[in-house]
Point group: C2
Chain length 117, copies 2
């Protein structure tokens, strides 16, 4: 496999990067919910932690029955078993990055895994 | 551990999310290089794949001697052993998200790991 891969996003409602970039440690999706819309189902995960970063707009997520308001700059970790559903606001789209990783898979990082060349 | 955690970013040159969100499968940093500046070292990783998403501005990365031009909307996977250094353009800052995950740690994802509640 090449030592790097690159893709340039185009405007779509959902772009998935795992296959585009040959990712091996994460799936990453770039998403936009139009104003007044929602992800049409509640879901949870078997093994994967999800990390969401709100890049634009506003909305909310309901996590195990608890409502969390969302706006650009917010980042959340959601445990695998938590039941979640995302909603754009009535008057605003909600754009977000979703990162799926296997819970407890990270060992060292930054200073413990990085090496000055 | 609570079933979710949330943080709201403030404008800083680098924000690291691992400890703020109690992440267990990734480290995520939100970074801005000012115009004309660079990460002051070349580095590689022992075990971690890095995924970079350019959120604003422009610049370049040199990966194992190869120059890759960068602009908002670009996403890259960089293999652990690849030697990398990021640069903002002379006339533009470069803002990016960096996601560290253990290479080959992801098992199922999306339909294979998610469950409708």
């Amino acid at each position: 496999m090449k030592n790097f891969s690159k893709t340039s996003l185009v405007a779509e409602r959902r772009v998935e990067l795992h296959d585009k970039l040959s990712l091996t440690g994460a799936e990453i999706s770039i998403n936009t919910l139009e104003a007044g819309t929602k992800v049409p189902f509640v879901h949870y995960h078997k093994k994967n932690e999800e990390i969401y970063g709100i890049t634009a707009g506003k909305g909310k997520v309901i996590i195990d029955g608890e409502t969390v308001e969302l706006t650009a700059g917010d980042w959340l970790r959601i445990a695998p078993s938590a039941k979640r559903q995302f909603f754009a606001a009535k008057d605003s789209a909600l754009s977000y990055i979703c990162i799926q990783v296997k819970e407890n898979s990270l060992e060292g990082y930054t200073k413990d895994d990085g090496v000055m060349a």
